[in-house]
């Protein structure tokens, strides 16, 4: 099997399947073998779902042979963060106390991907309980730390550490991650892949571990904005099993002939308006700041930039922190109350849940009351632009062997939109935009108004049609 399959896009794999140059079974086998041989190197995998994968792939082959084509994901292998239920396999939530937990039915996202003909090949590693107990180090999972394939001495990011590492290492063409506050875009940046965090409610959370019922989102991680769009189109939409899901679908934005430049670059019909946060590139690593400015330079012909945009002065951090802490304490009440929380891997996670029990109900309700005016204020800002651009993170990945707080001394973080965007539930996309310290990848992040995922995909396309950072491969050999 040619190794160019490992890093091919979803669209390219689909073309080969339709042309019968490869079968779904051959594709599944190729990625299953890579997951088994390389997954442990990067701490990327909890369970390889070989039996289910070969069964789903055989079904896809039979349908394709009969001329039934379900769409762009038909026969494409993928992995899910191990907080999504998949019938027949454990769902560990990354945590030793739940290592053998079984659910009888697929999560809605898994069911929708199955309906689209995709082939589940792995349950992927994650930070235990999606970081809900306040971890402060990469080694916070019963499967060990996730390692970025660009340098396995460094973290792949969290809490979707397995999806980030697995996509980057060519172990799966795409994966599903989750984000409560940074858990898709961070591993996307640290692993050098594209991550799309949808608007809260666009993708059903049914069958996913709950950390924060009002902040958890599920979304795709893949090789490009285009691939993420194809996946999002398959998983978005109302689900009666999730009352927070909204009655909206997502359609991949069409790419018209007139939008294609002679060199293959995408040209929008109008320039897109981009806001840059004040101090967005201050107080961060110099290479991250340079890559951010270089990326904006690449887009200069197709965007107009407004500098020094300021977020409304509201307490996003403490509102988000209070909501996550209280909802997380309730979601894992039995774990803390029983004392089984002591079985978690990171020492700080074993006691983090207790402090949250002392948060007064008054503070939680206050945080929820602040959220509405906060959402209105941020929307009023975002609607002035097509998107706000920021470096996804102020640094490259942390070393595996250091607490996060000691990883990059002197880097104070600059202005970042991850916390505010997650509190109010608006979408972001992170695309690779170069390399920094230790040749580790950096990310460019666009954030837009609620349900403007199409605009984010368009921005990703614009950038990725002009650069090849998303096509770079880490030094991985099977």
């Amino acid at each position: 099997m040619p190794d160019d399959l490992s890093f091919a896009s979803v669209a390219e794999l689909g073309r080969r399947l339709r042309a019968r140059k490869v079968s779904a079974t051959e594709l599944a086998t190729h990625f299953l073998d890579r997951l088994e041989s390389l997954g442990p190197t990067f701490g990327a995998v909890v369970t390889v779902t070989r039996g289910r994968a070969l069964s789903e792939a055989a079904a896809a082959d039979r349908e394709i042979a009969r001329g039934r084509w379900r769409g762009p994901l038909h026969g494409i292998p993928y992995g899910v963060k191990d907080l999504l239920a998949a019938e027949g396999y454990p769902t560990s939530w990354g945590a030793a106390p739940y290592e053998n937990q079984l659910f009888a039915a697929d999560a809605t996202v898994v069911a929708r991907l199955k309906a689209a003909g995709a082939v589940l090949v792995a349950k992927l590693a994650m930070v235990e309980l999606a970081g809900g107990m306040g971890y402060n180090q990469a080694n916070a999972s019963f499967t060990g730390p996730g390692r970025t394939p660009w340098n396995p001495d460094y973290w792949s990011g969290g809490s979707s550490s397995g999806p980030g590492a697995a996509v980057a290492a060519g172990l799966v063409p795409f994966a599903i991650g989750s984000e409560t506050s940074g858990s898709i875009v961070t591993p996307a940046a640290y692993s050098g892949v594209t991550g799309l965090r949808p608007t809260y409610g666009l993708v059903s959370r049914h069958g996913a571990m709950a950390l924060s019922w009002t902040m958890d989102k599920l979304g795709p991680m893949g090789r490009s904005a285009e691939d993420c769009a194809l996946v999002l189109a398959a998983i978005a939409g109302k689900d009666p099993e999730d009352p927070s899901s909204v009655d909206r679908k997502f359609f991949v934005p069409p790419l018209r002939r007139a939008e294609r430049g002679s060199g293959g670059e995408v040209r929008p019909r109008r320039k897109l308006r981009i806001g840059i946060l004040k101090n967005a590139d201050q107080g961060i690593q110099a290479e991250v700041a340079k890559n951010f400015r270089d990326a904006l330079g690449v887009l200069k012909d197709v965007i107009t930039v407004t500098e020094n945009v300021e977020l409304p002065d509201l307490p996003y951090g403490v509102v988000g922190g209070t909501i996550i802490a209280v909802e997380g304490a309730s979601a894992f009440d039995d774990l803390v109350d029983s004392g089984r929380v002591a079985q978690l891997t990171a020492p700080e996670d074993r006691i983090g849940g207790y402090a949250a029990l002392a948060i007064p109900a008054r503070d939680y309700v206050r945080a929820l009351r602040l959220r509405r005016p906060m959402g209105k204020a941020l929307d009023a800002l975002l609607k002035q632009f097509d998107a706000i651009a920021t470096p996804t993170r102020g640094t490259v990945a942390s070393p595996i062997d250091k607490p996060f707080r000691d990883a990059w001394p002197g880097v104070t973080g600059g202005a970042n939109i991850i916390g505010p965007a997650n509190v109010v539930g608006v979408p972001s996309i992170s695309v690779p935009n170069g390399f920094g310290v230790q040749n580790l990848p950096t990310g460019l992040c666009f954030t837009a108004r609620a349900f403007e995922e199409g605009t984010l995909v368009q921005l990703g396309r614009l950038y990725q049609s002009r650069t090849d950072w998303h096509k770079q491969r880490p030094p991985v050999t099977a």
């Binding site: 969290g158 307490p315 922190g321 700080e348 402090a355 602040l370 996060f404 707080r405 916390g419």
Partner: protein
């Protein structure tokens, strides 16, 4: 900096947040004596779960509560009116 729930322990300001300033970081790192309220709230944790927590654990928890209490002051600096409702809607249930 971790993604997800960095305020659970409460003594580490979130670098991704506009609330996190170098001054705030320095303040947290200097770890002043926890307030009486933090100690009282931590005592509630000790009374309920003290049999499984070490003295070091309780000190960490007390510091975490103290840090969170200091951060929570910002919740009350933004003005709200009686009409500002929590951002969720209760829906009555009626089965088939």
């Amino acid at each position: 900096m971790a993604a997800a729930a960095p305020f659970v322990l409460g003594d580490l300001p979130e670098l991704t947040s506009p609330d996190a300033t170098p001054a705030a970081l320095t303040q947290a790192q200097q770890a002043p004596e926890p307030s009486a309220l933090a100690k009282a709230l931590a005592e509630g944790i000790r009374l309920r779960y003290g049999d499984r927590l070490t003295a070091d654990d309780l000190r960490t928890i007390t510091r975490a509560i103290d840090g969170r209490l200091r951060g929570a002051e910002r919740l009350y600096q933004a003005a709200l009116t009686n009409a500002d409702e929590p951002d969720f809607v209760f829906r009555v249930y009626r089965g088939d």
